[in-house]
Subunit: 306 residues, 2 copies
């Protein structure tokens, strides 16, 4: 067992991300003690049975007492309220972090509540699955994925370095970014793709002449990939779009502009435009595979090659 | 070894689909002999080494001589030219089929060339991966996937029944549909999703302020799923959009309408609209998993749960 990086970690919110963090902390001996809290009593009872927390408390404040790391792992829209609730009990010198998918909004709503004697170090692990809730967590979720640390101006560098070591001990690679750039990068690599996937699945569901049963039976021709993303947690994603409004709307604007250009090429029969566009997009896939961020196995390995 | 369904099968075009058909035919003893032809000499040489054809000929006509099943497995836009080329040598009573992703256009361009003494039975296996070419084929590609048979008016029912048995022997489930409905269903479940994925990847590639390196590193948050689809064969997809123009443009119109409604909800902060939409789309995912058309493993099984 290596020396713990934090003596007591408090997880506020006990879904996929917090659960996976706890399992990864246990795997690596990263925390002396893991204390948890979730708003729903059902979730708290489930976590008591699953055992990924050493202790589950019935209030956020009770969970945070004496913690040297507090992790806010609730939907982005709920971060500010939780920060306000726990602020009075935070230990002198403790670090507060979060795992929200949007950073500017979280900083604006959390930082004002925190006392001067605690370190606020926002972060965002770029990892997840389409499953949610405490049962969905697993220790390997962050392995070789990226966690982006978003220090606020004047951040304590020791606190930032310690949180960085913590995420690396959970298996992640780490980078630093400012909140605006983070929110734009994520609008491209995550938020807009999710909105588009949700839209496509909604269109298919709506289309009277093609029944849901047909959509489901014939989904292997491409559509099913979109349904995975569109099965993600609705509350989390509602909050993402409401709080990363500007960057998402900007990327959506770029997206519709390109889509209209391709639509025009289809309408006018401009095969060269289509062919060139479809050729260019192959390079990014190769880059992702070379960077170890996806499998090269056909169909994500769903089909087993002989 | 069961009795072959066809004595000699000619595969015209030797990419992912033809290669997978050949391996599946060998697995099931479905064909007495498999003869192949591809336009590229390099592909023909590769297939001679891979061995999934018993014989590879240097012209489409030579490959079709004496075959009782001819499979057109070339891009949709090339189907008509191939049909014209092979028509003179087709054996009396043989069946000609295809594997094109669009059916109305293929029928319009192939049927006029075929003599009256052969049976034309269009079909479309809804299976594939992002890999293309003769090396990409594998026997299990069609297992539990759907192949849609699209008989032309006045089709010989015995020929249709025999081709249906053939596809079932390759592992597929089968359904019949008319060409217009097929093209609409595929516009929803395959063609529009592909166009959208290509568009999203193109937008990310274009965006100057987010480097390609960032898009690649941080792709695990959703974007990477789109890049798999957008790595599909550009020639094949160019032809799909040019030949299924009307249905694709119609579904694209529906898509942008819905996208604009969601965009408006983001702009006006209408969280209820977003939450309701994101909740509704979960049901289709559940249907797809229950129908055995995708895995329930998180992230398509890419992340191994402990």
């Amino acid at each position: 067992m290596s020396t713990p990086i934090y003596n007591r970690v408090a997880l506020i919110g006990l879904g996929l991300i917090a659960g996976s963090m706890a399992w990864a902390m246990k795997r690596g001996g990263v925390a002396g003690e893991i204390v948890g809290y979730a708003r729903s009593e059902e979730t708290r009872d489930t976590v008591r049975k699953l055992g990924f927390c050493d202790r589950v408390e019935d209030s956020a404040a009770a969970a945070c007492e004496g913690a040297d790391l507090v992790v806010l792992a609730v939907p982005v829209g709920a971060m500010g309220g939780v920060a306000q609730e726990i602020a009075p009990v935070l230990a002198d010198g403790c670090t507060v972090t979060d795992v929200g998918s949007v950073k500017r909004d979280v900083i604006d709503h959390v930082a004002p509540h925190l006392p001067d004697n605690v370190h606020f170090v926002p972060a965002h692990p770029l990892a997840g699955t389409e499953h949610s809730g405490p049962n969905a967590g697993f220790a390997e979720l962050f392995d070789n994925k990226w966690t982006i640390i978003v220090p606020v101006p004047g951040a304590d560098r020791d606190a930032v370095a310690r949180l960085t070591s913590f995420w690396q001990a959970l298996g992640a690679n780490t980078d630093e970014m400012d909140p605006e750039h983070h929110d734009l990068v994520l609008a491209v690599t995550s938020h807009t793709p999710h909105l588009i996937a949700y839209t496509m699945v909604g269109v298919a569901d709506d289309l009277g002449r093609v029944t849901d049963s047909e959509v489901i039976k014939y989904s292997a021709a491409g559509f099913r990939d979109f349904t995975r993303i569109a099965a993600s947690d609705p509350t989390m994603w509602r909050d993402v779009f409401l709080t990363n409004k500007d960057a998402t709307l900007e990327i959506l604007g770029r997206f519709t502009e390109e889509l209209f250009a391709l639509q025009r090429a289809i309408r006018t029969g401009d095969g060269d435009h289509l062919f060139d566009y479809f050729t260019r997009t192959r390079a990014i896939r190769r880059g992702i595979i070379e960077a170890g961020q996806d499998t090269d196995a056909p169909d994500f390995g769903r089909a087993q090659k002989k």
